[in-house]
């Protein structure tokens, strides 16, 4: 499809100025897009899961590929068990410690047949690290969407992240670039000060994108492309004339000042944006007939976003705003995807070793057990709380962690429901990645990924896959603790207890990224992705500890 949107617009764009935009969509649609666009959404949460409770129950189906079907039964409610004296084999740890009504995916039952749950992968970047900044948190966070090595200094990823790589292939071209919508729930770090743990998205090696953290800003982008009241004729012309003036001044700079590489790249970036025509933006909004002001208003009342118009970074990082920001940002992401502003969205919650206190979200309202509404997610994930409780476990802390997983799980479900109501889910992949598999020991193994949608049949959904060689989790789920230990390569005197739910990871997580990348590419007439990648990342980085593997995750391919 080389005709492309811009050429199409050139043809009819001029004639359209001044006309109401609604109604122009349908006849031209087939011409612009040969098949329904695919979309990729990345949903990232910090600190890892309580892997002892996170998963639905399923049974090993036999055979070499270690996977089991997900059914409504898999999501059956679980009762709080405070009494059982049953202990794990060979230990005195009661199983009741891990039996909570709250667990990560408990409310995803209605999506059972459309989920793929992957378990037991390892980070492409192995090992524990002790960088100047960020440490293990920074290493895994920078590695998660990039599958690249880690640089020295600030500990940034040495490669571009998969959301940027995908956007480069499937997103609309704005000013010469195709970039994903990156949203950050929480306070932003300035890349000049941040570290590997601050960012998940990278536009280029060691160039993190902090994401838009004020929803009002993202909303303005959306408003720009949404058909609203009929455009008045002068508006577009005015924008163009001012853009021409800006371009003239930028060209003055170019012609009269000797510029170094940094200035030149800045200037070219800007010129590209100025040259992107207004109607490129306007036209995106007609890709989906549901993209109307009415849908927008019923999904997301303007007032709920406008409430953040004057919020500064501290207000956006306030725990009391976290739930509201999550809700508003997910809706903006869904609307932006539906309207075709972007086909790739990344939503980063807080940052590595971060996360709010969940008291404001209601943690602690259940009268049974001990709750820690004042402890941050990170400290809870280490199970010893904000004050480093001895001997390392707060009472009932496992249930607190399950509760937090469940809170994020419900946000993920909300996003799925919204995308489904827009008719997008089956053509999309909505991917939930945690910072760690299990945050307690900073593992670089046991990486979990939840994927919803099939990208138009590219994935076989409705199952849980265990990458490990002996992936028979049904005998292990809910009844394993005190697993193997692992030795710190850089200092063999350190032996870390990998603790609960450990599964030896056998495949690098970059195979998941490769699968996602290829799944959302445009397809040829036989339905095969055009120019798929044998491996993401495409290039190797200068880091001997990064070991990406070729190929896709075959178990989940249709």
């Amino acid at each position: 499809m080389k005709l492309g949107r811009r050429r199409f617009l050139k043809g009819i764009g001029g004639a359209m100025l001044g006309l109401p935009i609604v109604g122009l969509g349908s006849p031209a649609r087939g011409q612009m897009m040969p098949s329904a666009p695919k979309r990729a959404v990345f949903f990232w949460t910090p600190n890892g899961f309580n892997v002892s409770t996170f998963y639905p129950r399923t049974r090993y189906a036999g055979g070499a590929s270690a996977f089991g079907p997900l059914t409504a039964d898999s999501f059956a409610p679980r009762a709080l068990d405070t009494t059982s004296s049953d202990v794990f084999a060979g230990s005195s740890v009661p199983k009741s410690l891990f039996r909570h009504p709250e667990w990560g995916l408990r409310n995803l039952g209605s999506f059972a047949s459309r989920l793929s749950i992957l378990r037991g992968f390892r980070n492409s970047r192995n090992g524990f690290v002790n960088l100047a900044d960020g440490g293990d948190h920074g290493m895994e966070t920078a590695n998660r969407l990039t599958a690249s090595g880690i640089g020295t200094g600030q500990g940034f990823a040495l490669g571009r992240s998969v959301d940027y790589a995908i956007a480069d292939r499937i997103n609309p071209n704005i000013g010469g670039t195709r970039v994903p919508l990156v949203i950050h729930v929480g306070s932003n770090s300035d890349p000049a000060h941040g570290n590997g743990g601050s960012f998940i998205s990278y536009s280029a090696p060691e160039t993190p994108d902090p994401g838009i953290n004020n929803p009002w800003v993202a909303f303005q982008q959306l408003m720009n492309i949404m058909p609203g009241s009929p455009a008045q004729s002068y508006v577009a012309l005015r924008k163009k004339r001012i853009a021409d003036l800006v371009k003239a001044e930028l060209t003055d700079f170019k012609n009269s000042i000797t510029l170094g590489p940094r200035d030149t790249s800045f200037l070219n970036q800007w010129l590209g944006l100025v040259e992107a025509t207004e109607d490129t933006m306007q036209q995106m909004g007609i890709m989906n007939s549901m993209c109307t002001a009415a849908t927008r208003d019923s999904t997301l009342p303007t007032a709920s976003v406008q409430a953040f118009q004057t919020s500064d970074n501290n207000a956006l990082g306030d725990d009391h705003n976290f739930a509201k920001l999550a809700d508003v940002n997910l809706k903006i992401a869904a609307l932006s995807l539906m309207c075709g502003y972007t086909n790739v969205a990344t939503i980063q919650f807080s940052q590595a070793a971060g996360g709010p206190t969940f008291g404001p979200m209601g943690l602690g309202s259940d009268p049974v057990g001990s709750w820690y509404p004042g402890d941050r997610h990170h400290e809870l994930s280490h199970r010893n709380g904000s004050d480093g409780a001895s001997p390392g476990f707060l009472t009932d802390v496992e249930r607190n962690m399950s509760w937090v997983d469940n809170w994020y799980g419900d946000r993920y479900r909300d996003l799925l429901q919204l995308l489904d109501s827009f008719g997008l889910l089956d053509d999309s992949l909505v991917v939930w990645f945690p910072e760690f598999g299990d945050g307690r020991g900073h593992h670089f193994i046991e990486i979990t990924t939840v994927i919803a949608g099939s990208a138009g049949g590219y994935l076989k959904t409705g199952s849980m896959v265990d990458c490990s060689a002996d992936g028979q989790w049904d005998g292990r789920l809910d009844n394993e603790t005190n697993g193997p230990k692992i030795t710190d390569n850089s200092n063999p005197t350190n032996v870390y207890d990998l603790d609960i739910g450990w599964i030896p990871g056998c495949s690098s997580h970059n195979k998941i990224l490769t699968t996602i990348f290829n799944a959302v590419l445009p397809r040829d007439t036989s339905g095969q992705p055009i120019n798929p990648l044998p491996r993401f990342p495409e290039t190797d980085s200068a880091d001997a500890d990064n070991h990406p593997e070729a190929g896709e995750v075959s178990q989940i391919r249709a």
Partner: protein, 524 residues
């Protein structure tokens, strides 16, 4: 001198990089930072506006999100009719073009921070002359709105252009108007006023003395003083780590209300405000220097924080007080600092020590080794009564001890007399608080007995002065890699002089060769 903690014992270190007087390599097209954009737009329309809130992430360069934000905000600000009337330099007659031209000349000069060329001016008049097709009614006001909307997204407005190209010696001296801009953004974080711009145009900034004269006006005049205070507030937020990834230690303070009845939700905002007001008061009201930041007994408190200080004064609003100089010397004993640098149920000597090393001495500490966060804090016992004893026991083994016992913990002992919310205590869990310690400064081990002599040691350390000067230079040039310890050693030394002031440092900074000139190299 970021990361360079091991300089010789107070003497002049072997200097790399750079020789004295070499300006840092900076871009010719530095885009306004977000706060500069707010201040510059506010100055242009004569009212406080904060348009940067719509720009999205503060990354380098120009993103689509950012450019959309600049355009949207230009239109929004220009639609404010009151602003237009406020800044209109004339009354229109006829078709209004004479007044429009005057608007372009005067407001354009403010926006560009230099006079427009006739070709540039003509572009804006073209817009005005096209107002019939570009606005609903084509009125004079709408034409002026159009000009303002364009000026607010003009590259000459959004970029602090430095065109000077003639090498003189080893540097490129900046032109008068370019110096006026550098000066105003460095001391006011905003655009030059008429006096400064005129001084630049008339050659009064061609000498360091001329620059110093303007700098003194900018720092002390009725009009300039508040802008300089605002600049120092922003620079101090940067210096203290209230922005960036360190800021997590200054926000979302949560304390156990059973242990700390003075805690309230939102206390972190008051804590930060207290520290910033303390700096402002010491520097501008008291004419203090770097030493005073660490040793002054002055404090600025509101009613709620006064309670934590044990003061009985009832005023709810911010007011200045003098505290016991032995108990409460300077920044490191302000409740805003010790109160934020703590944990749910106690103060944290680790956080406080790490603050001193990272923020005041510019040392890079690295991050804790894998599994460190799992190390439990031992329960209090007969052997381990105080927080200090328990924390030292927690970090006593490798791989913790080599950093914690040699460096981090001893940098925090001095503040052990302050609990998790910053209240003074002499006893901790029935045992006397121990505030003695040893810290390595300028390559020498220095012992101290408590907060007061600890503050004196830090205040006198060359390492502290290098760190302060570097941080200010990095902030000014928006480049965290800048190190001026060798290119402007006089600035560093100045901070250590017994009678030096921070305002004096600021004036010295802008009159320094590294500031008045450009590097002969272009930013790579």
């Amino acid at each position: 001198m970021t990361g360079g903690g091991d300089m010789g014992g107070g003497g002049a270190p072997a200097c790399t990089p750079g020789t004295k007087g070499t300006p840092p390599v900076t871009p010719r097209l530095p885009r306004l930072t977000f706060s500069q954009y707010d201040n510059t737009a506010s100055a242009l329309v004569g009212a406080r506006v904060s348009p940067s809130l719509a720009l999205g992430p503060a990354v380098n360069g120009m993103t689509n999100v950012m450019w959309t934000g600049f355009r949207t905000q230009a239109a929004t600000i220009a639609q404010d009719a009151a602003a237009l009337m406020r800044i209109l330099p004339c009354q229109p007659s006829g078709d209004g073009s004479a007044c429009a031209q005057q608007f372009v000349t005067t407001i354009g000069r403010q926006a560009f921070r230099r006079a427009l060329t006739s070709a540039e001016s003509a572009r804006y008049m073209d817009l005005y002359n096209s107002r019939q097709e570009l606005t609903p009614n084509g009125t004079f006001e709408e034409g002026i709105q159009l000009i303002l909307e364009a000026l607010l997204q003009s590259p000459n407005f959004l970029v602090r252009v430095e065109r000077s190209a003639t090498t003189q010696g080893n540097v490129i001296p900046l032109s008068g108007v370019e110096r006026a801009s550098r000066l105003s953004f460095a001391l006011w974080n905003g655009p030059p006023d008429e006096a400064l711009l005129s001084a630049g145009e008339s050659g009064k900034l061609d000498t360091a003395d001329g620059v110093r004269q303007q700098a003194e006006r900018m720092l002390t005049s009725t009009d300039g003083g508040p802008k300089a205070r605002s600049l120092l507030r922003t620079a101090s937020q940067d210096y203290l780590g209230m922005v960036g990834s360190y800021s997590q230690f200054w926000v979302n303070t949560e304390r156990d209300p059973n242990l700390f009845p003075d805690f309230y939700q939102g206390i972190d905002a008051d804590f930060r405000e207290e520290v910033l007001r303390f700096v402002d008061h010491v520097v501008f009201d008291k004419g203090g220097g770097y030493r005073d930041l660490l040793t002054s007994p002055e404090a600025v408190v509101n009613g709620k924080l006064a309670k934590i200080y044990g003061l009985t004064q009832a005023a709810a609003d911010w007011t200045t007080v003098s505290l016991d100089p032995n108990q409460r010397p300077g920044l490191l004993t302000r409740v805003g600092f010790v109160g934020t640098h703590g944990r749910f149920s106690r103060g944290s000597l680790i956080y406080r020590g790490a603050f001193v090393l990272k923020r005041l001495l510019c040392l890079e500490l690295g991050s804790p080794p894998a599994g460190a966060a799992n190390t439990p804090l031992p329960d209090a016992s007969a052997m381990l009564k105080t927080d200090r004893q328990r924390i030292d026991a927690m970090t006593a083994n490798e791989p913790c001890a080599s950093c914690h016992h040699a460096r981090i913990n001893p940098a925090g002992y001095a503040m052990e007399e302050f609990d998790g919310i910053g209240k003074f205590r002499s006893m901790d869990n029935g045992a006397a608080v121990d505030t003695t310690g040893v810290i390595r400064l300028d390559g020498m081990m220095q012992s101290y007995t408590g907060a007061a002599d600890y503050a004196q040691l830090l205040a006198g350390a060359n390492q502290s002065h290098v760190c302060y000067a570097d941080r200010f230079a990095q902030f000014t040039f928006s480049d965290p890699s800048i190190d001026i310890s060798c290119t402007a050693p006089d600035l560093v030394d100045g901070l250590g002089q017994s009678n030096s002031t921070i305002t004096g440092f600021l004036a010295d900074f802008v009159a320094n060769d590294i500031f008045l000139n450009r590097s002969t190299m272009e930013a790579p």
